[in-house]
């Protein structure tokens, strides 16, 4: 079976690359082995929150020159980065995913990081946010004085106490309340299975979200901030908007433990946009047994399709990091399991991880070694029609930098452009 481009991986990076190519008339196949990191999304996209040395970043585009040479952003270059950064909101809007930035914008219209409230009650920098999330301009001045935090009775994946404590430290007076909704009570039969998506499914029904909204309205007594878990608008985020209109004060939705409701919504919409543009998406299938001849990939196989050869002009690998099984760690080395690409990791095993869980972790910086246009190498020899994008690209520690989504999107756009340029 023949396609123009075959993309291995089904997450944010693959979908952005696939949609961009497919809309430009390139016939794409995405091979996706199970769901992806969007299901763990905070509801925001980070571009760059911190430099590798720990310096906090206010305006990501102004900090690009401080990044090391091997960083994926440095490979793309400031000009292209600026172009893509400007392109992103409209790109996602056309896929049904509306994103907003912090209200301030910097010189030349470049983004200024906003801050989102985390489930632990801290504030983290980010670039763009989905409808659910409210972005703050500063991490120190909180423009509200009294907050009402409302949870569903029995829902353990949203810890109102942490948020109250965190905000309390910043001088916000917090009150925590629980509400009981009959439709949600059913979920308590299996207490460990009372999860975000279960509640979100109930909250798609008009009677139930309205009951929740009016109970919160009754509870509120002059608070200027109301904080709710991100469990609304699974199919359509309009419910998020309706709740904001219904409840007095600023209504802020804060992330829960996974799965992420805004993340799943974004994933479903991006996949739909890819398919609507004519792309083919293989769910629950794994790429294997590629043929590589003379520095070119000539075909791949998948577990489900067996002996059928899938061939294309170009191939994209965006199958994730260690967590997504795009990379695998053995006791002595890090491998890329589909093509056996050259990877970047320190030979000193003890530097792979730090015992302090919250410290910068060495393993987050592992990745596939790529050239300036994200083409990888096998035994030091470049593969000319294979591109790598997303978290699999080496050269940065995106968890530490707060650049996970940014790297996924920027590398995908850059790879799509390289493929289009070579057409």
């Amino acid at each position: 079976m023949r396609f123009d481009t075959i993309i291995i991986g089904g997450g944010l990076s693959s979908l952005v690359c696939g949609i961009k190519l497919q809309k430009a008339g390139v016939k794409c196949l995405i091979v996706s082995a199970g769901q992806n990191a969007l299901h763990f999304s905070s509801g925001t996209f980070g571009l760059l929150g911190k430099l590798p040395d720990g310096t906090e970043v206010r305006e990501p585009m102004r900090s690009m020159s401080f990044l090391p040479e091997g960083h994926p952003y440095s490979k793309i270059g400031v000009d292209k980065m600026s172009e893509y950064v400007a392109e992103v909101p409209a790109f996602f809007e056309s896929c049904g995913v509306r994103l907003h930035s912090a209200p301030l914008s910097g010189e030349g219209g470049f983004p200024v990081n906003g801050y989102r409230l985390t489930p632990l009650g801290t504030l983290k920098p980010c670039w763009l946010a989905m409808e659910d999330v409210t972005l703050l301009q500063s991490k120190d001045d909180i423009p509200w004085s009294k907050a009402l935090i409302v949870n569903f009775s029995g829902f353990l994946d949203f810890n109102a106490g942490f948020i109250a404590e965190g905000l309390g430290r910043k001088g916000v007076e917090c009150r925590v309340e629980n509400v009981t909704i009959e439709g949600v009570e059913n979920l308590r039969r299996n207490p460990t299975e009372m999860r975000s998506v279960g509640i979100a499914r109930v909250m798609t029904k008009e009677n139930d979200w309205k009951e929740f909204g009016s109970k919160v309205r009754e509870l509120s007594s002059g608070e200027d901030l109301v904080i709710l878990p991100e469990v609304f608008g699974l199919g359509d985020p309009v419910i998020v908007q309706w709740l904001r209109e219904m409840i007095p004060g600023e209504v802020m939705f804060v992330g829960t433990m996974p799965p992420s409701v805004p993340g799943i919504r974004a994933q479903m919409r991006l996949k739909k946009a890819f398919e609507a543009a004519g792309g083919t998406f293989l769910s629950g299938d794994t790429a294997e047994n590629p043929s590589v001849e003379g520095g070119l990939v000539t075909s791949v196989h998948t577990v489900n399709l067996g002996e059928l050869r899938l061939s294309a002009d170009n191939y994209v690998l965006a199958s994730g990091h260690l967590f997504g099984k795009g990379l695998e760690a053995t006791p002595s080395k890090v491998i890329e399991p589909v093509f056996g690409l050259d990877t970047d990791f320190p030979t000193d095993r003890s530097s792979w991880c730090d015992e302090d869980f919250f410290a910068q972790q060495g393993y987050d910086g592992f990745g596939v070694i790529c050239d300036e246009s994200f083409r990888p190498f096998i035994d030091g020899k470049r593969v000319d029609n294979l591109f790598v994008c997303g978290s699999e690209v080496g050269g940065c520690n995106s968890l530490y930098e707060g650049s996970g989504a940014g790297v996924a999107i920027m590398t995908a756009m850059s790879v799509a452009d390289s493929i289009l340029a070579g057409k």
Binding site: G34, N186, E193
Partner: protein, 410 residues
């Protein structure tokens, strides 16, 4: 040092992300079902300690496999659930479950009296009786038994000419082709003959999927062993085994080893769906299809859960998409809620309709000429719930192909 994780159905790979539960159609509507994470890998840890922890509510799993398709860690969640049912379930299948599970026996039994059986089971008093006495929901309509089965037609009309083809394949027709939808089998033979393949029937038994769902494990295993033995002989003769029902094919490839512990590794890759078989032949240039010039249809394609799990929906999409006068819409990936015999049962009927609702609504809003689907029980559910006709892709192909011209081209 142990370098790789090795655990039963990969259950230790579960990281508790709950993505499976997010995609489970049952847990969305039925509060009694604990959900795939709890029923599968979480429960397995406890069951390993003590079978006392087995939860009878695992019976609510429809075995649609959507959890496995969604799992980022490759855990065989539904296999864990069904093998736990096989090992630990204490509930004994009742008469209703036995009747529903024995699709082949019931077909043979009902066939001589087909017109009578069809009208009797369609009558309101009988439906009310079955509802009260057997817990088969009275709202459910039954697929009609055909007086003349597929194999009888085959022997009379087609068998003699099959040896004249130089290339041969073995056809696994399944129970529904034999008893309810012989037109699917006839279409299969027509298309295969047109593209130059002779069709051979084999000594098949029901694939056993309904026995697995209804807890008739020993019987299911006997069927699996019989079929696998027959397949071994067939493959030994150099013939692939080609089917028309995605559930039969999926069961014989994957449920035999994963749930019933029947080793089919030597024949598994030779068991295929007709759409995959045909597509590969067309793709390699071995087979040419010539379509009628005046065929026109607006078709909506529903990929059944088991074909979604096989990952073979693309072949149907590609083949039906090749027909010049067709406009094809691929429906959103949703379960129809029928899951074989699940939707017949009174305790599941309401949930089965609720699960299928998004699919039914999408079909109604698209208003296609008909729906295309490889699974007979999806067909029953969609036809009953939407009023739209559902056709197996091979029936659509037989209708759209210029069979004479195709035969000349091959």
């Amino acid at each position: 040092m142990q370098e790789k994780n090795v655990s039963f159905n990969n259950f230790e790979q579960c990281i508790k992300c709950t993505i499976c539960t997010a995609y489970c159609p049952v847990v969305a509507v039925n509060p009694f079902y604990p959900g795939p994470k709890q029923a599968g890998p979480d429960g397995e840890r406890l069951r390993l300690k003590n079978k006392f922890f087995f939860d009878e509510n695992l019976k609510y799993c429809m075995n649609c496999k959507r959890c496995e398709v969604a799992c980022p860690s490759g855990v065989k969640i539904a296999d864990l659930i069904h093998s736990a049912r096989r090992r630990f379930a204490r509930e004994i299948p009742d008469l209703r479950d036995r009747v529903l599970a024995n699709t082949d026996f019931m077909g043979k039994f009902a066939r001589p009296f087909a017109p009578v059986v069809n009208s009797v089971v369609a009558s309101k008093p009988v439906k009310a009786f079955m509802d009260v006495m057997m817990d088969i929901d009275r709202e459910r309509t039954f697929p009609k038994y055909q007086g003349k089965g597929f194999t009888r037609w085959f022997k009379k009309e087609a068998a003699d000419s099959q040896s004249s083809y130089s290339k041969q394949i073995a056809f696994f027709h399944g129970c529904s082709t034999e008893f309810q939808h012989p037109e699917v089998g006839k279409a299969f033979v027509q298309v295969m003959n047109a593209v130059g393949f002779g069709v051979k029937l084999i000594d098949e038994e029901c694939c056993g999927v309904a026995m697995i769902s209804n807890g008739l494990w020993n019987q299911a295993r006997r069927h699996a062993e019989h079929n696998t033995k027959v397949f071994r002989k067939t493959v030994g003769e150099g013939l692939p085994i080609v089917g028309v029902s995605s559930t039969c094919v999926f069961t014989m490839r994957d449920e035999y080893p994963d749930v019933l512990d029947v080793d089919n590794s030597d024949v598994r890759d030779s068991i295929t769906m007709v759409e995959k078989f045909l597509f590969e032949k067309v793709d390699s240039g071995e087979v040419k299809l010539v379509f009628k010039e005046d065929y026109r249809a607006r078709i909506a394609y529903h990929c059944p859960c088991h074909n979604e799990k096989l990952g073979w929906g693309i072949f149907t999409k590609a083949l039906v998409g090749m027909i010049p006068g067709v406009s094809l819409t691929v429906l959103d990936s949703n379960c129809c809620g029928m899951a074989g015999t699940y939707g017949f049962k009174k305790e599941n009927y309401k949930y089965s309709q609720e699960i299928g609702r998004p699919l039914f609504e999408q079909i109604k809003s698209l208003a296609p000429d008909f729906v295309c689907c490889e699974c007979e029980t999806c067909k029953w559910q969609i036809e009953m719930s939407t009023g739209y006709t559902v056709l197996n892709p091979i029936v659509i192909l037989a209708d759209a192909l210029d069979l004479e011209a195709t035969a000349k081209a091959n």
